[in-house]
Symmetry: C2
Subunit: 207 residues, 2 copies
Protein backbone atom coordinates (compact mmCIF):
# COMPACT_ATOMS: atom_id res chain seq x y z
CA UNK A 1 0.00 0.00 0.00
CA UNK A 2 1.36 3.38 -1.01
CA UNK A 3 0.94 5.81 1.86
CA UNK A 4 0.32 9.51 1.79
CA UNK A 5 3.06 11.34 3.66
CA UNK A 6 1.65 12.62 6.92
CA UNK A 7 3.18 14.71 9.66
CA UNK A 8 4.14 13.44 13.06
CA UNK A 9 1.48 15.72 14.55
CA UNK A 10 -1.22 14.08 12.41
CA UNK A 11 -0.13 10.61 13.50
CA UNK A 12 -0.31 11.87 17.08
CA UNK A 13 -3.95 12.93 16.75
CA UNK A 14 -5.24 9.72 15.16
CA UNK A 15 -5.69 7.76 18.41
CA UNK A 16 -7.85 10.64 19.74
CA UNK A 17 -10.03 10.58 16.59
CA UNK A 18 -10.44 6.83 16.87
CA UNK A 19 -11.30 6.91 20.55
CA UNK A 20 -13.91 9.58 19.97
CA UNK A 21 -15.49 7.87 16.94
CA UNK A 22 -15.70 4.56 18.75
CA UNK A 23 -17.46 6.16 21.70
CA UNK A 24 -20.11 7.87 19.54
CA UNK A 25 -23.77 6.93 19.90
CA UNK A 26 -24.21 4.05 17.39
CA UNK A 27 -27.21 5.94 15.98
CA UNK A 28 -24.80 8.52 14.52
CA UNK A 29 -24.01 7.29 11.00
CA UNK A 30 -22.19 10.27 9.51
CA UNK A 31 -19.77 12.79 10.95
CA UNK A 32 -18.24 15.90 9.40
CA UNK A 33 -14.72 17.21 9.98
CA UNK A 34 -16.38 20.34 11.40
CA UNK A 35 -18.33 18.36 14.01
CA UNK A 36 -15.33 16.21 14.93
CA UNK A 37 -13.15 19.31 15.34
CA UNK A 38 -15.72 20.96 17.60
CA UNK A 39 -16.21 17.86 19.76
CA UNK A 40 -12.46 17.40 20.24
CA UNK A 41 -11.64 21.09 20.67
CA UNK A 42 -9.33 21.10 17.63
CA UNK A 43 -9.03 23.47 14.68
CA UNK A 44 -11.35 22.62 11.79
CA UNK A 45 -8.68 23.11 9.12
CA UNK A 46 -6.35 20.78 10.97
CA UNK A 47 -8.95 18.03 11.36
CA UNK A 48 -10.01 18.32 7.73
CA UNK A 49 -6.38 18.03 6.62
CA UNK A 50 -5.71 15.05 8.90
CA UNK A 51 -8.77 13.10 7.74
CA UNK A 52 -8.11 13.95 4.14
CA UNK A 53 -4.57 12.55 4.38
CA UNK A 54 -5.70 9.32 5.97
CA UNK A 55 -9.15 8.69 4.54
CA UNK A 56 -9.64 11.02 1.56
CA UNK A 57 -12.10 13.89 1.43
CA UNK A 58 -15.48 13.55 3.13
CA UNK A 59 -18.64 13.93 1.08
CA UNK A 60 -20.16 17.41 0.89
CA UNK A 61 -22.74 18.07 3.63
CA UNK A 62 -22.72 14.56 5.20
CA UNK A 63 -18.97 14.21 5.75
CA UNK A 64 -17.71 10.71 6.56
CA UNK A 65 -19.47 7.44 7.25
CA UNK A 66 -18.39 6.78 10.85
CA UNK A 67 -17.69 3.08 10.22
CA UNK A 68 -15.61 3.81 7.11
CA UNK A 69 -13.62 6.46 8.91
CA UNK A 70 -12.87 4.09 11.80
CA UNK A 71 -11.71 1.45 9.31
CA UNK A 72 -9.49 3.93 7.49
CA UNK A 73 -7.91 5.24 10.69
CA UNK A 74 -7.35 1.73 12.04
CA UNK A 75 -5.89 0.59 8.78
CA UNK A 76 -3.58 3.62 8.82
CA UNK A 77 -2.37 2.67 12.30
CA UNK A 78 -2.32 -1.03 11.33
CA UNK A 79 -4.06 -1.94 14.58
CA UNK A 80 -4.95 -5.29 13.07
CA UNK A 81 -1.32 -6.32 12.84
CA UNK A 82 0.68 -7.66 15.74
CA UNK A 83 4.17 -8.83 16.62
CA UNK A 84 5.67 -6.35 14.23
CA UNK A 85 8.84 -5.04 15.88
CA UNK A 86 11.84 -6.43 17.71
CA UNK A 87 14.51 -4.79 19.85
CA UNK A 88 18.18 -5.62 19.72
CA UNK A 89 19.89 -4.85 23.01
CA UNK A 90 18.19 -5.83 26.25
CA UNK A 91 19.90 -3.37 28.55
CA UNK A 92 17.90 -0.95 30.70
CA UNK A 93 16.59 1.04 27.75
CA UNK A 94 15.78 -2.04 25.65
CA UNK A 95 13.89 -3.61 28.55
CA UNK A 96 12.05 -0.36 29.25
CA UNK A 97 10.85 -0.24 25.63
CA UNK A 98 10.00 -3.95 25.65
CA UNK A 99 7.86 -3.39 28.70
CA UNK A 100 6.24 -0.12 27.58
CA UNK A 101 2.49 -0.54 27.08
CA UNK A 102 1.82 2.74 25.25
CA UNK A 103 2.61 1.27 21.81
CA UNK A 104 -0.72 -0.60 21.67
CA UNK A 105 -2.64 2.65 21.22
CA UNK A 106 -0.89 3.04 17.87
CA UNK A 107 -1.42 -0.57 16.89
CA UNK A 108 2.20 -1.39 17.53
CA UNK A 109 3.67 -4.32 19.34
CA UNK A 110 7.23 -5.25 20.19
CA UNK A 111 7.27 -9.00 20.37
CA UNK A 112 10.76 -9.86 21.58
CA UNK A 113 14.24 -8.58 22.36
CA UNK A 114 17.56 -10.04 21.25
CA UNK A 115 20.85 -9.72 23.07
CA UNK A 116 24.29 -11.21 22.67
CA UNK A 117 24.19 -12.04 26.37
CA UNK A 118 20.56 -13.18 26.42
CA UNK A 119 21.20 -16.07 28.80
CA UNK A 120 22.53 -13.76 31.52
CA UNK A 121 19.59 -11.31 31.41
CA UNK A 122 16.94 -11.67 34.05
CA UNK A 123 13.58 -11.85 32.28
CA UNK A 124 11.70 -12.32 35.55
CA UNK A 125 10.00 -8.94 35.38
CA UNK A 126 9.45 -8.91 31.61
CA UNK A 127 6.30 -9.88 29.75
CA UNK A 128 8.25 -10.58 26.54
CA UNK A 129 11.11 -13.00 25.77
CA UNK A 130 14.80 -12.12 25.32
CA UNK A 131 16.51 -14.38 22.78
CA UNK A 132 20.16 -14.81 21.76
CA UNK A 133 21.35 -12.96 18.64
CA UNK A 134 21.74 -16.22 16.74
CA UNK A 135 17.93 -16.51 16.59
CA UNK A 136 17.34 -13.01 15.15
CA UNK A 137 17.21 -13.85 11.44
CA UNK A 138 14.97 -16.87 11.70
CA UNK A 139 12.62 -15.16 14.15
CA UNK A 140 12.21 -12.03 12.01
CA UNK A 141 11.54 -13.98 8.84
CA UNK A 142 9.12 -16.36 10.54
CA UNK A 143 7.13 -13.64 12.30
CA UNK A 144 7.40 -11.15 9.43
CA UNK A 145 8.97 -8.52 11.68
CA UNK A 146 9.18 -5.23 9.85
CA UNK A 147 10.65 -2.77 12.33
CA UNK A 148 13.99 -3.27 14.05
CA UNK A 149 14.82 -1.22 17.14
CA UNK A 150 18.47 -0.68 17.99
CA UNK A 151 19.23 -0.22 21.68
CA UNK A 152 22.89 -1.23 21.78
CA UNK A 153 25.97 1.01 22.28
CA UNK A 154 27.02 3.11 19.27
CA UNK A 155 30.04 0.91 18.53
CA UNK A 156 27.81 -2.13 17.96
CA UNK A 157 24.97 -0.35 16.17
CA UNK A 158 26.05 -0.73 12.52
CA UNK A 159 26.61 -4.49 12.80
CA UNK A 160 23.21 -4.87 14.48
CA UNK A 161 21.62 -2.72 11.80
CA UNK A 162 23.14 -4.91 9.05
CA UNK A 163 21.77 -8.05 10.75
CA UNK A 164 18.31 -6.49 11.01
CA UNK A 165 18.30 -5.47 7.35
CA UNK A 166 19.45 -8.98 6.36
CA UNK A 167 16.63 -10.35 8.49
CA UNK A 168 14.13 -8.48 6.36
CA UNK A 169 13.06 -5.51 8.52
CA UNK A 170 11.79 -2.55 6.50
CA UNK A 171 12.54 0.28 8.95
CA UNK A 172 15.02 1.01 11.72
CA UNK A 173 14.44 2.91 14.97
CA UNK A 174 17.83 3.77 16.41
CA UNK A 175 18.58 4.78 20.02
CA UNK A 176 22.35 4.54 19.62
CA UNK A 177 24.10 7.93 19.24
CA UNK A 178 25.49 7.31 15.75
CA UNK A 179 24.69 7.53 12.03
CA UNK A 180 23.82 4.29 10.28
CA UNK A 181 24.44 3.24 6.72
CA UNK A 182 21.35 1.49 5.29
CA UNK A 183 19.88 0.67 1.88
CA UNK A 184 17.96 3.60 0.42
CA UNK A 185 14.52 2.03 0.81
CA UNK A 186 14.88 1.54 4.57
CA UNK A 187 13.82 4.58 6.60
CA UNK A 188 15.74 5.21 9.81
CA UNK A 189 14.52 7.24 12.73
CA UNK A 190 17.08 8.38 15.27
CA UNK A 191 16.06 8.95 18.86
CA UNK A 192 18.46 11.16 20.75
CA UNK A 193 17.35 11.44 24.36
CA UNK A 194 20.10 13.84 25.32
CA UNK A 195 19.19 16.15 22.45
CA UNK A 196 15.58 16.32 23.64
CA UNK A 197 16.69 17.31 27.10
CA UNK A 198 19.24 19.82 25.78
CA UNK A 199 16.58 21.36 23.55
CA UNK A 200 14.21 21.70 26.50
CA UNK A 201 16.90 23.55 28.41
CA UNK A 202 17.28 26.11 25.66
CA UNK A 203 13.62 27.00 26.21
CA UNK A 204 14.28 28.08 29.77
CA UNK A 205 14.78 31.80 29.56
CA UNK A 206 16.74 32.38 32.69
CA UNK A 207 19.14 29.86 34.08
CA UNK B 1 20.40 35.20 30.60
CA UNK B 2 17.94 35.76 27.80
CA UNK B 3 18.44 33.10 25.15
CA UNK B 4 18.00 33.33 21.42
CA UNK B 5 15.49 30.75 20.26
CA UNK B 6 17.33 28.01 18.42
CA UNK B 7 16.11 24.94 16.60
CA UNK B 8 16.48 21.40 17.82
CA UNK B 9 18.73 20.71 14.84
CA UNK B 10 21.09 23.55 15.87
CA UNK B 11 21.30 22.18 19.41
CA UNK B 12 22.10 18.80 17.90
CA UNK B 13 25.09 20.13 15.97
CA UNK B 14 26.71 22.02 18.85
CA UNK B 15 28.53 19.02 20.37
CA UNK B 16 30.12 18.36 16.96
CA UNK B 17 31.30 22.00 16.69
CA UNK B 18 32.74 21.85 20.19
CA UNK B 19 34.51 18.55 19.63
CA UNK B 20 36.06 19.86 16.41
CA UNK B 21 37.16 23.20 17.90
CA UNK B 22 38.73 21.53 20.91
CA UNK B 23 40.74 19.20 18.69
CA UNK B 24 42.16 22.02 16.55
CA UNK B 25 45.87 22.72 16.50
CA UNK B 26 46.37 25.26 19.35
CA UNK B 27 48.25 27.46 16.85
CA UNK B 28 44.93 28.19 15.09
CA UNK B 29 43.58 31.34 16.72
CA UNK B 30 40.69 32.24 14.42
CA UNK B 31 38.18 30.17 12.49
CA UNK B 32 35.53 31.23 10.00
CA UNK B 33 32.10 29.67 9.58
CA UNK B 34 33.17 28.77 6.06
CA UNK B 35 36.20 26.83 7.26
CA UNK B 36 34.26 25.11 10.03
CA UNK B 37 31.53 24.08 7.58
CA UNK B 38 34.08 22.66 5.17
CA UNK B 39 35.95 20.75 7.85
CA UNK B 40 32.74 19.21 9.22
CA UNK B 41 31.11 18.57 5.84
CA UNK B 42 28.14 20.81 6.66
CA UNK B 43 26.43 23.56 4.68
CA UNK B 44 28.01 26.98 5.11
CA UNK B 45 24.70 28.80 5.51
CA UNK B 46 23.66 26.37 8.22
CA UNK B 47 26.91 26.71 10.18
CA UNK B 48 26.81 30.50 9.89
CA UNK B 49 23.24 30.55 11.20
CA UNK B 50 24.04 28.17 14.05
CA UNK B 51 27.06 30.13 15.24
CA UNK B 52 25.25 33.41 14.85
CA UNK B 53 22.40 32.18 17.08
CA UNK B 54 24.75 30.97 19.80
CA UNK B 55 27.71 33.32 19.63
CA UNK B 56 26.73 36.32 17.49
CA UNK B 57 28.21 37.15 14.11
CA UNK B 58 31.88 36.47 13.43
CA UNK B 59 34.16 39.32 12.39
CA UNK B 60 34.59 39.93 8.67
CA UNK B 61 37.55 38.05 7.18
CA UNK B 62 38.87 36.54 10.46
CA UNK B 63 35.64 34.94 11.70
CA UNK B 64 35.62 33.81 15.34
CA UNK B 65 38.31 33.65 17.99
CA UNK B 66 38.46 29.89 18.66
CA UNK B 67 38.63 30.30 22.44
CA UNK B 68 35.67 32.71 22.48
CA UNK B 69 33.63 30.40 20.31
CA UNK B 70 34.34 27.42 22.59
CA UNK B 71 33.31 29.47 25.61
CA UNK B 72 30.09 30.60 23.91
CA UNK B 73 29.15 27.08 22.82
CA UNK B 74 29.94 25.64 26.24
CA UNK B 75 28.01 28.35 27.95
CA UNK B 76 25.08 27.65 25.65
CA UNK B 77 25.14 23.98 26.60
CA UNK B 78 25.84 24.92 30.24
CA UNK B 79 28.55 22.27 30.42
CA UNK B 80 29.88 23.96 33.51
CA UNK B 81 26.74 23.14 35.47
CA UNK B 82 26.03 19.79 37.05
CA UNK B 83 23.38 17.95 39.01
CA UNK B 84 20.68 19.81 37.18
CA UNK B 85 17.83 17.36 36.64
CA UNK B 86 15.91 14.78 38.63
CA UNK B 87 13.57 11.98 37.55
CA UNK B 88 10.35 11.11 39.32
CA UNK B 89 9.41 7.47 38.77
CA UNK B 90 12.12 4.83 39.04
CA UNK B 91 10.47 2.14 36.93
CA UNK B 92 12.26 0.61 33.92
CA UNK B 93 12.16 3.83 31.90
CA UNK B 94 13.18 6.07 34.81
CA UNK B 95 16.12 3.81 35.61
CA UNK B 96 17.13 3.63 31.92
CA UNK B 97 17.25 7.44 31.80
CA UNK B 98 19.04 7.65 35.15
CA UNK B 99 21.68 5.30 33.81
CA UNK B 100 22.01 6.85 30.33
CA UNK B 101 25.46 8.34 29.82
CA UNK B 102 24.71 10.32 26.64
CA UNK B 103 23.47 13.40 28.49
CA UNK B 104 27.01 14.46 29.47
CA UNK B 105 27.81 15.45 25.87
CA UNK B 106 25.19 18.18 26.19
CA UNK B 107 26.38 19.27 29.61
CA UNK B 108 23.43 17.63 31.29
CA UNK B 109 23.33 15.47 34.35
CA UNK B 110 20.50 13.66 36.09
CA UNK B 111 21.54 13.48 39.69
CA UNK B 112 18.85 11.35 41.35
CA UNK B 113 15.49 9.65 40.96
CA UNK B 114 12.51 9.81 43.31
CA UNK B 115 9.86 7.13 43.70
CA UNK B 116 6.96 6.58 46.07
CA UNK B 117 8.25 3.04 46.57
CA UNK B 118 11.94 3.99 46.71
CA UNK B 119 12.73 1.54 49.50
CA UNK B 120 11.60 -1.45 47.40
CA UNK B 121 13.65 -0.54 44.30
CA UNK B 122 16.91 -2.33 43.76
CA UNK B 123 19.59 0.27 43.22
CA UNK B 124 22.32 -2.34 42.92
CA UNK B 125 22.96 -1.71 39.23
CA UNK B 126 22.46 2.06 39.34
CA UNK B 127 25.15 4.71 39.58
CA UNK B 128 22.67 7.27 41.02
CA UNK B 129 20.49 7.22 44.15
CA UNK B 130 16.70 6.64 44.28
CA UNK B 131 15.06 8.62 47.09
CA UNK B 132 11.52 8.59 48.54
CA UNK B 133 9.09 11.26 47.28
CA UNK B 134 9.11 12.98 50.68
CA UNK B 135 12.67 14.17 49.98
CA UNK B 136 11.90 15.73 46.57
CA UNK B 137 11.26 19.33 47.61
CA UNK B 138 14.22 19.69 49.94
CA UNK B 139 16.59 17.97 47.48
CA UNK B 140 15.56 20.16 44.54
CA UNK B 141 15.87 23.38 46.50
CA UNK B 142 19.20 22.42 48.02
CA UNK B 143 20.78 21.27 44.75
CA UNK B 144 19.10 23.95 42.65
CA UNK B 145 17.52 21.36 40.33
CA UNK B 146 15.97 23.08 37.36
CA UNK B 147 14.60 20.28 35.18
CA UNK B 148 12.10 17.72 36.41
CA UNK B 149 11.61 14.52 34.41
CA UNK B 150 8.29 12.71 34.78
CA UNK B 151 8.45 8.94 34.24
CA UNK B 152 5.34 7.84 36.14
CA UNK B 153 2.03 6.53 34.74
CA UNK B 154 -0.30 9.14 33.22
CA UNK B 155 -2.71 9.02 36.18
CA UNK B 156 0.02 10.16 38.58
CA UNK B 157 1.72 12.67 36.27
CA UNK B 158 -0.14 15.87 37.17
CA UNK B 159 0.41 15.44 40.91
CA UNK B 160 4.11 14.76 40.29
CA UNK B 161 4.29 17.79 38.01
CA UNK B 162 2.75 20.00 40.71
CA UNK B 163 5.30 18.73 43.25
CA UNK B 164 8.15 19.44 40.86
CA UNK B 165 6.92 22.96 40.15
CA UNK B 166 6.54 23.59 43.89
CA UNK B 167 10.10 22.32 44.33
CA UNK B 168 11.33 25.06 42.03
CA UNK B 169 12.10 23.28 38.74
CA UNK B 170 11.94 25.57 35.71
CA UNK B 171 11.14 23.03 33.00
CA UNK B 172 9.39 19.67 32.73
CA UNK B 173 10.26 16.72 30.50
CA UNK B 174 7.28 14.39 30.44
CA UNK B 175 7.27 10.74 29.38
CA UNK B 176 3.72 10.08 30.62
CA UNK B 177 1.12 9.98 27.83
CA UNK B 178 -0.95 12.95 29.04
CA UNK B 179 -1.24 16.74 28.90
CA UNK B 180 -0.02 18.67 31.94
CA UNK B 181 -1.25 21.90 33.38
CA UNK B 182 1.70 24.13 34.36
CA UNK B 183 2.38 27.81 35.05
CA UNK B 184 2.98 29.75 31.85
CA UNK B 185 6.69 30.32 32.45
CA UNK B 186 7.48 26.60 32.71
CA UNK B 187 8.20 24.94 29.36
CA UNK B 188 7.08 21.34 29.00
CA UNK B 189 8.44 18.85 26.51
CA UNK B 190 6.43 15.71 25.88
CA UNK B 191 8.17 12.55 24.81
CA UNK B 192 5.86 10.07 23.20
CA UNK B 193 7.75 6.90 22.37
CA UNK B 194 4.79 5.23 20.72
CA UNK B 195 4.26 8.24 18.48
CA UNK B 196 7.88 8.09 17.29
CA UNK B 197 7.46 4.45 16.36
CA UNK B 198 4.07 5.03 14.72
CA UNK B 199 5.53 7.89 12.71
CA UNK B 200 8.39 5.70 11.52
CA UNK B 201 5.87 3.14 10.33
CA UNK B 202 4.12 5.70 8.17
CA UNK B 203 7.41 6.15 6.31
CA UNK B 204 7.41 2.54 5.18
CA UNK B 205 5.85 2.61 1.76
CA UNK B 206 4.69 -0.94 1.52
CA UNK B 207 3.51 -2.90 4.51
Amino acid sequence: MKRVEVSRATVGRIPAYLKHLKNLDPAIVNISATALAKELGLGEVQVRKDLNAVSGAGRPKTGYLVTDLITALESFLCTDQSGNAVIVGAGKLGCALLDYTGFAEYGLSISAAFDKAAESISTAGLAKPVYPMSMLGEYCREKDIYIGIIAVPAAAAQAVCDSLVQSGVRAIWCFAPCRLSVPENIPVQYENMALSLAFLRTKINEI
